[in-house]
């Protein structure tokens, strides 16, 4: 089921005279294609969960419309929308067994949809098998690990075959190893069921690794929606560029003069077809080439070897942030000096942004 948001806005009124109203979601307007896995990405407190709660009906939008396919569901109560929600802390009923938890939504069905006990059990078994917890049906949530509880929560959301599956920070309560494993699992379950799935996360790596599309938002405002690699390669503004990628993009105060890009005194790129003036220059960590006569002069702080990557940590008077992180393959690593280092930079990994609006400037 395709999910379409039209000018969706949520304003939380001021709680008392001292505080002011909060615009949690501001004029969201995009379409989530059918059968895809979408990562809703943004820093903490940017309104991601509010978007999710509006889609499933727990929060009422201040204005705007929500469509499931062709149906306007904005005023339809949550139980009739057919959305499944997996909560951040799972919200499994602690006094019920796994089986009872999974069959709980089915027992609410009334009238023509009503199922017999055998049918309910069979559906629960199917859902449990899908998330691979079919051997734990008689346990209580308290007797299971975080990862297993997460699977139960997904099974409970899936059992009534929702049109849309929503997940609120599904991996944030898991440890690092389990997180890697579970995110593959989510991808597999989504592909197996083909249900349009939207998950919320503040972890860009998580969103990049499993989503078909990612939606980046900031302070309640939609920034960009595209395939993960495209958003990484082609961000629309400085915020998106900074938010995606580890290590983060290195941002310099730069200027353009006579179609040449300068960082301080160093001319790093030529053939820059924009008007003269100051710009923000972002260079991805993999955009640096170590070279004895490189254009960009930096002072060397240290070399970090982390697994297969070697990163050179250096500083430059025109950088923003605390240092410059560049990733160099280990074979290329030849440092001649202990306190200075020089780089050439790759044109494709260098992004320019307007100094005031921070909007991307294309310079080819």
């Amino acid at each position: 089921m395709e999910v379409r948001l039209e000018h969706l806005t949520k304003i939380f009124p001021a709680r008392d005279k001292k505080s002011s109203e909060v615009i949690a979601v501001n004029d969201f307007d995009f379409t989530i294609p059918e059968g895809k896995l979408i990562g809703l990405l943004g820093p903490s407190g940017c309104g991601k969960s509010t978007v999710l709660y509006m889609i499933c009906g727990l929060e009422k939008p201040t204005s705007g419309k929500i469509y499931f396919g062709e149906d306007d569901v904005t005023d339809i109560p949550s139980e009739k929308r057919g959305a499944g929600l997996v909560f951040q802390n799972y919200a499994l009923y602690p006094h019920l067994t796994v089986r009872q938890n999974i069959t709980f939504p089915l027992e609410n069905l009334k009238g023509a949809e009503k199922l017999t006990k055998e049918q309910r059990n069979q559906k629960a078994e199917e859902a449990a098998k899908l998330v691979q917890i079919d051997g734990l049906m008689d346990r209580k949530p308290g007797e299971m690990s975080g990862g297993q509880q997460q699977r139960v929560a997904i099974a409970r959301a899936l059992v009534k075959m929702p049109k849309v599956l929503l997940m609120d920070e599904p991996l944030s309560n898991l440890d690092a190893r389990l997180r890697l494993q579970t995110r593959e699992e989510i991808k597999r379950i989504q592909q197996a069921t083909g249900i349009t799935t939207i998950f919320v996360t503040h972890d860009q790596e998580e969103a990049m690794s499993i989503s078909d599309y990612i939606v980046v938002m900031k302070d309640g405002i939609f920034q960009q929606m595209d395939e993960p690699q495209k958003v990484y390669d082609d961000p629309v503004n400085l915020f998106v560029a900074k938010f995606l990628g580890t290590p983060a993009i290195n941002v310099f105060e730069a200027s353009v003069k006579d179609k040449k890009l300068y960082i301080g005194e160093d001319q790093v790129l030529g053939n820059v077809n924009i008007k003269d003036g100051p710009v923000w220059c972002g260079i991805r960590p993999e955009g640096f080439i170590l070279k004895d006569d490189g254009a960009l002069k930096c002072s060397l702080t240290g070399v970090n070897v982390m697994g297969r990557d070697t990163s050179i940590v250096s500083t430059n008077p025109n950088m923003t942030g605390i240092n410059i992180r560049s990733i160099i393959s280990a074979e290329d690593l030849k440092l001649n000096s202990k306190d200075s280092v020089r780089f050439d930079i790759k044109r494709s990994k260098t992004l320019l942004f307007d100094k005031d609006s921070e909007v991307r400037i294309y310079y080819d």
Binding site: S78, L85, Y93, N108
Partner: protein, 306 residues
């Protein structure tokens, strides 16, 4: 050597532990355990005289006497009726009021305070108010009777009239006295249920009654169980409530309770019988113990079934 060292430290550690416990243990021993044993012994000493500290012999005569005493049997009957009626009624009413309190937004604090006020009000003052409400005097029929008359029914003397009328007043009084505490406990228990469960239930289209019976009730069941147990024990020990309404001569009005009987045997008009009082006290102890054990067994069984 290391082994003995560890052992020495173990003994020392235990000693320190006991030393910390000593004040509490001494207190409990002196004021709880010793009197309990003493009462147990008195209850078997026939014709004990506390002035001369003498008795005739040892046996079960005190128990036989007490169990044949019509005043005691009346007291047991009264106490049981009181327990059976007030504990469930007050618990269910408190739960309903707490649910209502929990669902209102405005003036919640005000209503919570109003419902808690009886708890900090003196029992005898409440008794006085009940007298005014229910008592029939040469001057007035009492407020309740005026209402009854307004509906065209015959007024009843609730304080000195028929047994069921007096029992009704006592039950209403006890329920009214114990509810504030239960409401307080249940309101906080309801508030402590994580709202995320209600959100999850809402998305799944769970009906309100089902949310209450399948989610709310199981989650606060330990608290309800606690209230029922303490309610049983409290109602079995009722005494001041009856005094507040019917005065000190409870045997005459036929509204005595077991604790009232024990008191009368010790200090009342027919007092001076510590042996009978002890026997009655031990019987009450046995009853309360039995009920509590039954409660625990029921609780454990339902916990397994859940």
């Amino acid at each position: 050597m290391t082994k003995s060292g560890v052992r020495k430290e173990g003994i020392k550690g235990t000693l320190t532990g006991w030393l910390y416990l000593l004040p509490a243990l001494a207190f409990l021993g002196f004021f709880m355990i010793y009197p309990l044993i003493d009462v147990f012994i008195y209850s078997f000493e026939e014709g004990f005289n506390s002035a001369s500290q003498t008795y005739f012999g040892i046996g079960t005569y005190n128990y036989r006497y007490v169990l044949r005493d019509p005043y005691f049997l009346q007291a047991v009957k009264n106490t049981f009726i009181l327990v059976i009626i007030t504990v469930p009624v007050s618990t269910i009413l408190s739960l309903l009021i707490s649910l209502a309190l929990n669902s209102i937004e405005k003036l919640k604090k005000l209503f919570q305070t109003i419902y808690f006020l009886p708890y900090v009000t003196n029992t005898l003052a409440v008794g006085l108010v009940f007298m005014i409400l229910f008592q029939k005097t040469p001057y007035t029929d009492g407020l309740v009777n005026i209402v009854i008359k307004a509906f065209g029914m015959t007024p009843v003397d609730f304080i000195e009239g028929p047994y069921w009328a007096k029992m009704l007043v006592l039950c209403v009084y006890v329920i009214w006295i114990v509810m504030p505490f239960k409401i307080l406990i249940l309101t906080s228990a309801l508030a402590s249920v994580n709202p995320i469960y209600y959100k999850a239930a809402r998305i799944d289209g769970t009906s309100k009654p089902r949310i209450f019976f399948k989610i709310t009730l199981p989650m606060i069941s330990p608290i309800i169980f606690y209230l029922v147990i303490t309610g049983f024990i409290g109602a079995f020990k009722a005494y001041s409530d009856a005094v507040a309404i019917f005065g000190t001569d409870l045997n005459a009005s036929g509204m005595n309770t077991i604790v009232g009987y024990v008191y009368d045997m010790l200090y009342g008009d027919g007092g001076g019988y510590p042996s009978y009082a002890s026997a009655a006290a031990i019987i009450l102890f046995a009853i309360v113990l039995t009920i509590t054990v039954i409660n625990l067994i029921v609780r454990n069984r339902t916990a397994i079934e859940e």
